[in-house]
Symmetry: C2
Subunit: 404 residues, 2 copies
C-alpha cells in the first residue's frame, strides 16, 4: 500500500470539476462541485443520524437504493435544510446536472453544505452547470475539493494505491469539515472513489465499519450536522475480480480505505473552525473497545480540555474529569496520562493521581501543532483513537456571526 497524491480523481476513470456559480456572494469562493465516473459504478453511503436531515440526503438515499451511481453533485454556501421546497430543489439539481452531462438524474448522489434554513436559489446552479460540466477533467479533483469547502482553510484530499489479485487499484477521496463536526455514522461531506471492483453490498459494509473507527471518532464542536454524508463509488476500472464477500481482498480493500479515511479525518479535525492544533487521543488498556471509544471521545469533546490545549496548559485534571463523565466502565484509580508531540513526551498522571513533571517540558510538548493525549487505563485490552482540535478565539469569532 502506498500513499499517493490526489483525491477523487486519483482512481482510474473519474473526472471532476468545481466552479463559483453564485450561490455564495464571494466570487473567489467556489460553490459547485461535480464528480463523474466514466462508467456506471457500484455505490454506497452513510448519512447523519440527526433527526433533522438536509433535503439532499433524502434524494441521495432514493437514488442510491439500487446500489449504483455514476456521479455526484455538491454545492456549498447553503445546506438546503429546513426549507419548504428543499427536496424539490435537490431533485432539480440532479436533473440539471443530468442533462448537462448526458447521464440520468437517478444516478446522481447529491449533497449540500452551508447555512441551514435559507431557501436555496436554483438559478445560479442552472446558469453555471454547463461551465461546470464542460470543465470536467481527470485532473479536476482539486477544484471539486475546493468547491465543497465552507470555513475550511484548505482543500482536503487523500489517496492510496494498493494491489488486489495482481492489479493495481486506487482509492482517493475528498472531505470538507470545519464546524458542526461531530459525525454520528458519517461525517460532514466525504466523497471517495475507487477503481477497484467491489459489490455495492461489500462497499456498504466497508464504509459502515470504517466510519465507526474514523469519522465517528472525530469531533470539532460536539454538534452533529444535519447534512453529514459519505458517498463511495467503485467503478471497477482497475480490472480486479469483483470483491463480493469477505476475505483477503476485502481486508486489503478495508486497509487501503482506512488509510484514506484516517488521513481525511485528521485533516478535518486539525482544520476545525478556528483550530490551531490537531488533537489525537489514544486510549488503551480499557476493559472493552466500547469503553475505550467512549473515553477517547469524551476527552476530545471536552471544551475545557480543548481550551487548555489551545493555551498549551498541561491541565491534566480536565482529562481525568472528562474520563469520569464519559459513561464508560473505567477504574479511575488505575489511569495513567501523558502528553506527547514531536517535542517529546511528558507523563502527568499515574494511577489516577498527579505526579511531578517539568512544566517547562510540558509547555514545549504542548506548543506543537499536533498533540497526542495518551491514556492508559491499565484494565484490559480495549483500545481506540479519537481526533479533535483545540477551542480558540477564532471558533467563537467565526460562529458568532456565521450567516453574514
Amino acid at each position: 500500500m502506498k500513499i499517493i497524491e490526489g483525491g477523487v480523481c486519483a482512481a482510474k476513470g473519474y473526472k471532476a470539476n468545481g466552479i463559483h456559480c453564485g450561490i455564495r456572494a464571494n466570487i473567489n469562493k467556489k460553490d459547485l462541485a461535480l464528480v463523474v465516473s466514466d462508467v456506471m459504478a457500484n455505490a454506497a453511503a452513510v448519512y447523519t443520524r440527526n433527526l433533522v436531515k438536509g433535503a439532499p440526503i433524502y434524494v441521495s438515499e432514493d437514488h442510491l437504493k439500487d446500489g449504483r451511481a455514476q456521479a455526484i453533485i455538491v454545492n456549498s454556501g447553503n445546506a438546503n435544510t429546513c426549507n419548504a421546497d428543499g427536496i424539490e430543489i435537490a431533485k432539480q439539481m440532479t436533473e440539471i446536472a443530468a442533462s448537462a452531462t448526458g447521464l440520468k438524474s437517478e444516478d446522481f448522489a447529491i449533497a449540500s453544505t452551508g447555512v441551514i434554513g435559507q431557501p436555496l436559489n436554483i438559478e445560479p446552479i442552472k446558469n453555471g452547470i454547463d461551465e461546470l460540466a464542460k470543465g470536467l477533467s481527470y485532473s479536476g479533483g482539486r477544484y471539486a475539493a475546493e468547491a465543497i469547502m465552507t470555513t475550511d482553510t484548505y482543500a482536503k484530499e487523500a489517496a492510496v494505491e494498493f494491489e488486489l489479485g495482481g492489479k493495481t487499484c486506487t482509492i482517493g477521496g475528498m472531505a470538507k469539515g470545519s464546524g458542526m463536526i461531530h459525525p454520528d455514522m458519517a461525517t460532514m461531506l466525504v466523497f471517495i472513489t475507487t477503481d477497484a471492483a467491489v459489490s455495492s453490498e461489500m462497499l456498504q459494509k466497508a464504509i459502515s465499519n470504517d466510519v465507526k473507527k474514523t469519522f465517528n471518532m472525530m469531533s470539532v464542536d460536539g454538534d452533529t450536522s444535519t447534512n453529514d454524508t459519505l458517498v463511495i463509488m467503485a467503478n471497477g476500472m482497475a480490472g480486479n475480480a469483483e470483491i463480493s464477500a469477505e476475505g483477503e481482498d476485502f481486508d486489503a480493500f478495508m486497509q487501503a480505505l482506512n488509510s484514506v479515511t484516517v488521513n481525511l479525518c485528521k485533516m478535518v479535525a486539525g482544520d476545525g473552525e478556528g483550530a490551531t492544533k490537531l488533537l489525537e487521543c489514544l486510549v488503551s488498556g480499557a476493559k472493552t473497545e466500547e469503553a475505550a471509544k467512549k473515553t477517547a471521545k469524551s476527552i476530545i469533546c471536552s471544551s475545557l480540555v480543548k481550551a487548555a490545549m489551545f493555551g498549551s496548559d498541561a491541565n491534566w485534571g480536565r482529562v481525568l474529569c472528562a474520563i469520569g463523565y464519559a459513561d464508560a466502565d473505567v477504574d479511575v484509580d488505575k489511569i495513567d496520562v501523558s502528553f506527547k508531540s514531536k517535542a517529546g513526551t511528558v507523563k502527568v498522571c499515574e494511577n489516577g493521581t498527579g505526579i511531578e513533571f517539568s512544566e517547562e517540558t510540558a509547555k514545549e510538548v504542548l506548543s506543537e501543532k499536533e498533540i497526542d493525549i495518551v491514556v492508559e487505563l491499565n484494565d484490559g485490552s480495549g483500545a481506540a483513537t479519537a481526533w479533535g482540535c483545540d477551542l480558540t478565539y477564532d471558533y467563537v469569532r467565526i460562529n458568532g456571526d456565521y450567516r453574514s
Copy 2:
C-alpha cells in the same frame, strides 16, 4: 412566598464567614468559608455522578450518613481531587474546623473547588481557621459566598420567606459556578440553609427532586465537574411542626426551595465563564417531559447555538440541528421556534421550516442580556426549561491558561 435579601444566613440561627487564608496566591480573593448552625440540623446532599470525585465528597458522604450536620467548611483555589493524600487532607480540614468551633468533625460537611490534581496544602487553613471562626456572624453570609467563588464575577445568594402552619420560615442559599458547569445530579457548589423543621429523609427527597428541574438543567460548557456538591441543612428554629411526610407543608417547602434554586441556577448560568448573556430555553408541547428535557438541554449545550447568541445572530438552523441530535422523540416537521427578550419576540421557524422575519428586530431581541429560546414542539404536553450562557472569547481566554 416572598423573595428576600440574603443567602445562607437569611434563615434563623445560621452564622457564616469567609476569609483569605492563603490557599490562593491573590490576597484579594477569599478562599475559606464556614457556615455554622446554632443547633444541630437535619441535612441531606447530592453529589456529582462523575466517576472521578473530589476527596471532600467521600468525607461529606461519610459525615452525613446519619442525616445530621451542624456546619459546612469550604475552600476555593484547589479542588483537592486526584491527590494521593486527598481524603486525609479533607478529614484534617474538618478536624481543624471542629476544634476552632467547638463542634464535632463528623458534623461538618466539606467541599473544595479549584484546580484538580495539585496537592492541597493544609497549612494556610490551619493558620487561618481561628480568624475564620472568630469572625462568624449572623450577617456573614456574603463573606462565605465570596469565599467559595473561583472565576465567578459576583457572589451568588438567594433567599425566600414562606409560611408553614402559621410559622414564618426562611430558605436561603449560596452557590458558585462559572466553568466546568454541567451538573449531573447536583451542581458545582450549592449550600442551602433553612430554619424550617424538615426530617432528613424529606430533605433528601426535596433536593433530589428539585435538582432534576434546576441544577441538572443548567450547563455552561458541558463538562460535569468532579466536585459538584449541594448540601442543605434544616435546623428547625422556625418552630413549625417537622415535615416528615408528603403533604401540603412539603409542597409549600418544595415551592420555596425551588424559588431559591431557580434563582441560583440563573445566576450560575448567566455568570458562566466569559458569559455575556443568560440563555433560558423553554420547550413545550413535547410528547413527554423527558423529551422536553433532552431537547432543552441539547439546545443550551450546543457550542454553535451559544456562539450565535454571543454574536446576536438569529441562526435558528442551529437550534433545529441541536433538537435533531438531542436523542429525543420529536416530530421535526412540527417545530416552532421564537427568540424572546425584553426587546420583544421574533418567530423564526414554523413547522420545522424557516419563515420570513425582520433581521433588524431579531438583532434587537438578541442584543439583550437575557434571552429566551422558545421551542414549541406541537406534539403533546411535556415541558421543560434549561439554562445556559453564550460562548465567548473570554471563555477561551479564561480556560486557555487556568492553572496560572
